[in-house]
């Protein structure tokens, strides 16, 4: 029986299920892309690290390693590009892809800068800071693809897994930035107050990311993460952080600590990659399980719908012969119409309840993403309004939140709300008035 011949009610019930399945298939493809992006980000972080140590002048012998890392990035970039190439964009009818596709476009745009950057690094025609800035922006573009995937996913378990992965990736990226900062500091023999403040910010921000990751990750990943935090490498990194904090212009340390710091932080980031690999595995496993569940549902659902549909047809026939049939206040004599209606209604109610539950569960995970968006946008606002650096904007936001005894995201929300109220209305569009007197 084709769908067209089903009664309209059943046709829409089935279409709702099919829409759910298509959404999940699409989400699964996005998650596969996300795991590829995560591997590319890791390789880029490594290339950034070795670019910095090479530019610091303390490790000219790292050039060969740097070259092989660039090749690894190229290989992973090709993988991502091939996956993107396989997406048949012409046939995608889904209306909610706008933001994800825009993020991908931006990430691709940034990746195009890579060859020129590499030449500049090899020829030492670029400062460590410039190289870092470019790669931070590039990696940021890739992270925003993961963020958007998490923010538009409609399956609660998969969304939780994406939120855990995104926050872990972000924490790891901040660890990579801390590594770069430390290389610059140790290479010059001491850390000035600006670098020390920035380092503290990076440590705080890492802590926040890993706290959110811990709320949403599952046991295996958490176990690995706790083992890493309690391991020797982490202890040694903590010791070197203290060394860094004690340095002054007139109390310098041996620049050879630069290599040690770099080695330790690189090992730490590499260990993080193993947690990340677990998170990637968890993510794809959730996709697989959700797909299995929905397929099983559809499998059970379809025969039920078919049976219901036959019963509907039979009931309609029966009615032709009985003007008494389908009365509201008396069960029909053959009991059939009543049972068809009950079964249909039960199915509908189950579906509605399930969708409601899905929505509730999504809300919690999305909230975590929203907090992060608010803080980023409030920072941006402060940077634009007062010409602050990102670091200064962050400090100011953090201090003001502490002063007022509220969370940073609450303060961010207030700032943004105030800014929105001060703004003139958009032009070229009629805006509804506020309630009139």
């Amino acid at each position: 029986m084709t769908d067209r011949k089903l009664p309209a009610t059943l046709r829409f019930m089935l279409a709702a299920r099919r829409s759910e399945l298509l959404g999940l298939e699409d989400l699964t493809r996005t998650c596969e892309l996300v795991t590829q992006v995560s591997r590319l980000v890791h390789a880029l972080q490594k290339e950034r690290g070795y670019s910095n140590i090479y530019l610091s002048g303390t490790g000219p012998h790292h050039l060969q390693k740097l070259d092989s890392l660039s090749l690894e990035v190229d290989r992973l970039e090709r993988e991502v590009r091939e996956s993107l190439e396989c997406m048949d964009l012409e046939s995608i009818h889904s209306a909610d892809k706008t933001r994800l596709f825009s993020r991908i476009a931006y990430a691709l745009y940034s990746l195009d800068e890579l060859p020129a950057l590499r030449r500049a690094v090899r020829e030492q025609r670029i400062s460590m800071q410039e190289a870092t800035t470019t790669l931070v922006r590039l990696i940021g573009g890739l992270l925003s693809v993961v963020f958007e995937a998490a923010d538009t996913a409609a399956d609660p378990d998969i969304t939780r897994a994406l939120v855990a992965l995104f926050n872990f990736m972000q924490g790891k990226e901040l660890a990579g930035q801390e590594r770069a900062l430390g290389v610059a500091g140790f290479a010059s023999g001491y850390f000035d107050s600006e670098r020390l403040e920035r380092m503290q910010q990076l440590m705080d921000a890492q802590e926040r990311c890993f706290a959110t990751f811990s709320r949403f990750a599952e046991n295996e990943a958490l176990d690995r993460w706790h083992a890493l935090c309690q391991g020797e490498i982490s202890q040694q990194v903590a010791q070197l952080r203290e060394v860094a904090q004690r340095t002054r212009d007139d109390s310098r340390v041996d620049t050879s600590l630069c290599e040690l710091w770099f080695e330790l932080q690189t090992q730490r980031v590499d260990e993080m990659k193993e947690v990340e690999a677990q998170l990637e595995w968890d993510l794809l496993e959730h996709c697989r399980r959700s797909m299995e569940r929905i397929n099983a549902d559809l499998h059970n659902h379809r025969p039920l719908l078919d049976r219901l549909s036959h019963m509907h047809a039979a009931a309609e026939n029966a009615m032709l012969f009985s003007i008494q049939a389908r009365e509201m206040d008396a069960p029909p004599e053959d009991g059939m119409t009543g049972s068809v209606e009950r079964s249909t209604l039960e199915l509908l109610q189950l579906q509605t309840q399930r969708l409601q539950r899905v929505n509730d569960e999504l809300k919690e995970a999305r909230q975590a993403l929203n907090e992060r968006k608010l803080i980023e946008r409030a920072k941006k606002l402060l940077m634009d309004q007062y010409g602050l650096s990102e670091s200064d904007a962050h400090s100011r936001l953090r201090q003001a939140a502490m002063d007022q005894g509220i969370r940073m995201d609450e303060l961010a929300q207030r700032l943004l709300a105030n800014a929105a109220n001060d703004k003139p209305p958009r032009q070229g569009q009629s805006r509804p008035r506020a309630r009139r007197g």
Copy 2:
């Protein structure tokens, strides 16, 4: 040039725009359906009104009118069903249709009850209250289609128009329920305390709906609404409400007031329909304007992308002949690569900013829907937990919110959060642990 040959960045930029356009086309179709649903709801409300007056025994002469109203409902129902039939569900690849389709399925399911209900009314085999309950449920199912359309729309102006329309429809529906309640009350000569309390609730709830409508509607609709509120009919309805409130078992009024009440309330609801027609017009007008805007954007965008794409290709060629090209720290000699990159980046940034603005504007309108969802679900919770009627659940929620000096939706949120915390975790799924020590 086909998309496939565009550089990947531009291909995804274009895909993002196309996805936006498809979303809007789809939303426009949904809005057209919504206006048909709104007209069907109005006709059903009218049929409910005349069914009640017929069942009240005071208006047997209304049978002919009732029959013609049933025919009108049939005609509008056919229109809705034909629109639904035209939706080619097989080819809809959009993943976010699950909830809307489920709502439509439920509405269709409820509409199937109509023929049996009508027979029962004509044969006077059903009480006024039963008939009202069935039709309230049926209309509720149709309203939830409008709610879902508003909740999933991704265009801020259209969402605002849908929120205004939904709240107005809901307010009008409550006015229709008040009409039914009044018919029952006046037909029996007086209002017992239960009916009076219910009447007060219906009046309060209407006020809330119309307040939300006023926040989101535009000038023309608001002007009509204010004229209606200050008009003679509204004054007379207010007077009859006062009469109702003064009745007692031992101080009855003439049952002929039943007809007067019914006439006045019917005129009031018919006038509301004119405001609703304006809201429908505003809604479709917003669809038309957004469509025009996005088509103009695409029209301007496409040649720009083509030009960019040619420039990208030319720049790549140029690079083959110059190892100096695409350096980060010096502008390329022909200035082309630089300008290609700037144009691409500007386009990307414009797109990102626009999407951000869209998101902010959506948030406000969705908030209004969310408040309503919270209250409805908290009521449902109280009904299930304490076996309360809907009316009692509503009173209790309202009283508790007043006692605690908070808004009803805040209280509802707390109740639901508490209930969720008390619930055991779902089975058959691994749930992430809370953060570990």
